[in-house]
Subunit: 407 residues, 2 copies
């Protein structure tokens, strides 16, 4: 059962009932799910969690689903946290970890929000959801909607990756491609939702996607033996993932399960779409819309991040930083993650390794610190980004000789 | 610690030490790892497994690694078993499950054999491994070899999928493409291994790949509440996976953890490469090499299955069957798995759904039975196979209308 009590506006503090579908507060602020901690403390212990399912639903008491047995699930979450011994040696770190969100069912961390969001949508009687997405969220929501027999409408950019388009279409989602500037996508979705009565599940436009994503924070702490890391590198587009992880840290303190300093947030963005990096460098409270997007296809395409102001606040509160990464650095970091650790990361995830290298050099992060890189997705969704292989051709009977450039 | 005691030849019964690298028995038979069950029974219970890791290493006492803390792991195994309620309704079944091996780190079940195989190779001091693969095993072994800093040499067919080629190359594997009949690949690998002193890790050419794969059988039983299913549909190329799963069932009986009838094996193959189906239909003891291969690119490219005779024996012993599936049926089944259950399966995995439909119609399987389909990999590795989507183009300000063909 759920200990969800109400929704609270993060801007004006309004208290709203959680029993009906809701998007944002009347003031426009994002809504946060709030819980009754007393019965949770009585019924859950860190020990009792150990026998929970190997998915984010191990944290059901901290989630908004009324009946977790009815959860729309494909085994999302409880993704592995790798100790990166080879990269530690290469970089001069003592305790480097990679959270591999590529292990989720559709190949990205977006499954967390979609699983909890669709579960809650079903409970609230919603029949059609709509969102815009550069691809990965679209694939995730289409997938969980298919499993729950909910209709899903998705707006994608013109250059959406073939892989995610096919994922969405296979799941029976209704697909639209937006001809025109991508920053218009939010308004297109809002208008369609209003006109047709569809439920808008865009980033921070409903409260439960965030609840799904916060489980990344719960998992990090549990996997580190109920300790907080010192610093987390997080590839940041709209901002929801990091906001959610730090909400989890607050809740875990509420439970008395973690203590010590709150981890520093190190945001990474592509240099070709870096509104948060720019605003942070200029000491601003909010982002200005980014004009010309020039990035590797995939995520981090968020020219006007809905969570921008909240992320900038988090960066200042935690003593963090925001770093922009070039395409070439990203591709080089992808290769390093593969050869050193056997991880076929996504480019967004590889930005964290490129940024870590720079942060170590510039003294933003120390080699003695406990560092987590979040790889948000599987490289299998990004095969066009990987360099073309050059295998050696052989015939039966011919000797296999290792060629120098492959050594 | 490990309870491995020795290796035993499946053909002549010879007993060999497990302390040195070994391929096959002197008689040519495959070698099976054997354990001392008395101390295992004393130290492991079904209850104690519940707090184990969410990977195949939860079964460490049943695996050959001397020190499981030194396991070369990326979180492989302990993949989700989905209850397929929507497909149950569509097919008229009561208890249909899908084991989703696509959730493994490189996207296929091959990770199980590679994790245990490379772990054991490191323990035995092996520096270079070589194998041939239609792609997925190559990607898996390249990945675990990279993580363990072992050299990996891989021979692939000319039409290997771009995705797996890129996986192998990213991991730093040495890649060869065989120009000539694919059935010559085994001899090419054997010759290179002999000449260069590399360790041949081809299917049934070393004993530990099988040990990794048997964990599928352990997981199925644990996930079904320590019960055996009635029937398992398994897409079968070389045969190792099914041999391994049924080895697990034998070991679980040895432990006294499961009882009742051994599950029937239902083998699926593509109609364009079906040596096991043909031999089974003709009542033969062994397969004849298949001449012209005409299949969907990917796995099940095994014209002369190394485990053919063992699979034919299993089919007869368990009262099973072998079914050939056409390409069109496979593609249709892929779409059904996606729209009904939210699973982007691989084509090999989809053959099991096509075969189940036929088996129900022909009375080979009853709707009241407990049925497991094994989806051996992720559809993300096979995006060229999925149909081209037809998204609707819209401009900002334009209304989103659902088009009939998308309804």
């Amino acid at each position: 059962m759920s200990f969800l009590t109400h929704l609270e506006c993060a801007s004006c503090g309004a208290i709203l009932s959680a029993d009906v579908p809701r998007n944002t507060c009347a003031c426009g602020g994002m809504l946060l799910a709030r819980y009754d901690w007393t019965p949770i403390r009585r019924s859950v212990t860190r020990e009792s969690l150990r026998v929970g399912p190997a998915s984010l639903w191990r944290y059901a008491p901290f989630l908004p689903a009324t009946h977790s047995e009815g959860a729309v699930t494909l085994g999302e979450g409880w993704t592995p946290l790798y100790r990166a011994h080879n990269l530690e040696r290469a970089l001069g770190c003592n305790a480097l970890f990679i959270k591999n969100e590529g292990a989720n069912p559709t190949g990205t961390f977006k499954d967390r929000g979609a699983s909890v969001g669709i579960t809650r949508a079903v409970e609230l009687g919603i029949r059609t959801v709509i969102l815009h997405s550069s691809g990965n969220a679209g694939a995730a929501w289409a997938t969980y909607a298919a499993r729950a027999s909910v209709r899903c409408v998705t707006v994608l950019p013109v250059d959406a990756q073939a892989c995610t388009l096919k994922q969405c279409a296979s799941m029976g989602a209704h697909l639209f491609v937006l001809e025109g500037p991508w920053r218009a996508a939010g308004a297109v979705v809002a208008e369609a939702a209003r006109r047709h009565g569809w439920f808008n599940v865009n980033t921070l436009k409903e409260p439960y996607r965030l609840e799904g994503k916060k489980t990344m924070g719960y998992e990090l702490c549990e996997q580190l033996g109920w300790a907080l890391p010192d610093v987390i590198f997080y590839p940041t587009g709209g901002g929801l993932g990091a906001i959610a992880i730090w909400k989890a840290f607050g809740e875990l303190r509420e439970m008395g399960w973690v203590e010590g300093r709150t981890p520093r947030l190190l945001v990474t963005q592509y240099a070709g779409c870096a509104p948060i990096v720019k605003a942070f460098a200029e000491g601003k409270d909010r982002c200005e819309p980014w004009e010309t997007i020039d990035i590797i296809p995939g995520g981090l395409r968020s020219p006007d991040p809905p969570g921008g102001a909240a992320i900038l606040r988090l960066l200042r509160e935690t003593g963090g930083a925001a770093l922009a990464v070039e395409k070439e650095e990203t591709i080089a970091a992808l290769a390093e993650m593969a050869r050193h650790e056997g991880l076929l990361a996504c480019p967004e995830g590889a930005t964290t390794l490129a940024a870590l290298r720079r942060a170590l050099r510039e003294g933003l992060v120390g080699g003695h610190e406990r560092i987590v890189l979040v790889n948000t997705g599987s490289g299998l969704k990004y095969t066009p980004v990987f360099p073309e292989p050059a295998p050696v051709r052989v015939r039966p009977g011919q000797e296999l000789r290792l060629v120098p450039e492959q050594l």
